[in-house]
Symmetry: C3
Subunit: 130 residues, 3 copies
């Protein structure tokens, strides 16, 4: 298992971690199997989406902010229930197929760490099995 | 594969199954790999979220009930289309990283069975691969 | 890894791929483990939900269309940000447990390829590890 630290710059943002994940996979001894990219936080998640046009990730962030408003009458006293809900909707991990020592991604796919309650120091984990 | 039965007490609730999953992993012969916690039902799911403050899980349940109202003009005659939609949004399984015979969870993470059409007798499955 | 091509008939639809996935698993040499069904597109996803009554899948499609309207003021110029958001909410892959050469599905569960920006020629990938 490999642990990678990242810093998120704002309350809600998608950080492209594709290159970091590719580097981890390239160094691994297993070159055929499944990789799990795992987020150990409860107000953040992992998703796979378009990496070409940056407006896709800003649209995702902005739409989720409107769909799950922080101003909803939540009970949880920390003011971040919206972030917990987004984390469960996006999911805490992503599966990747590993083949010939590299990950199989579609033409437009990038891997994102989704911050919903930043800015913070965060980490993600990568585990490969063959 | 291990099958675990649970009873859900109300129509919509999150049941903390972390200890049950930990016990299953502790008994397994594989102590390094990936575990999949799988829900074989179509009106329930599995998520990972905060386990410390119970208001987080009640906020998730209540917000999803408002976001996906049972009163929407659905076609499906059983009156539980809201539950099917929540199941697909939350997801039918969660990945866990297994290391040294235990699961890697973040400080605040717990594993939840998400009931959206209870109360019912349910089950979840755990499969570990190394 | 097996790649399977499909054609989607409309902009938003759920295509039942259960039989295709079962056939792929039946031909595989691994008969005990995990299978990942992976979608390499950024405006489509994979989910597991009810396969008995077709109104469940049409309710999912219709409700998601209302919840994430294409008419929202998105920045992304291709007019399909709604589809990208749906893809991240549904998820790009599903885990299946493989036992005795077959997949373990609940009584009512089917596997769906979720098209959110069709009609198109698409594909999904299946990777099995033991």
């Amino acid at each position: 298992m490999t642990e990678q630290r990242i810093k998120t710059p704002s309350r809600e943002c998608l950080i492209d971690i594709t290159e970091q994940v590719k580097t981890i996979i390239a160094k691994a001894v297993i070159n055929d199997g499944i990789a799990v990219v795992y987020c150990p936080h409860t107000t953040a998640g992992i998703t796979i989406n378009e990496g070409a046009d940056p407006s896709v990730k800003s649209d995702i962030v902005r739409f989720l902010r409107d769909m799950i408003p922080r101003t909803y009458p939540f009970d949880h006293g920390e003011g971040n229930s919206d972030a917990h809900i987004k984390a469960s909707i996006i999911g805490s991990s992503a599966n990747l197929i590993v083949q010939n020592g590299g990950i199989i991604l579609g033409t437009w796919q990038s891997i994102y760490f989704c911050e919903f309650d930043g800015p913070r120091s965060r980490k993600f984990l990568v585990k490969i099995i063959g």
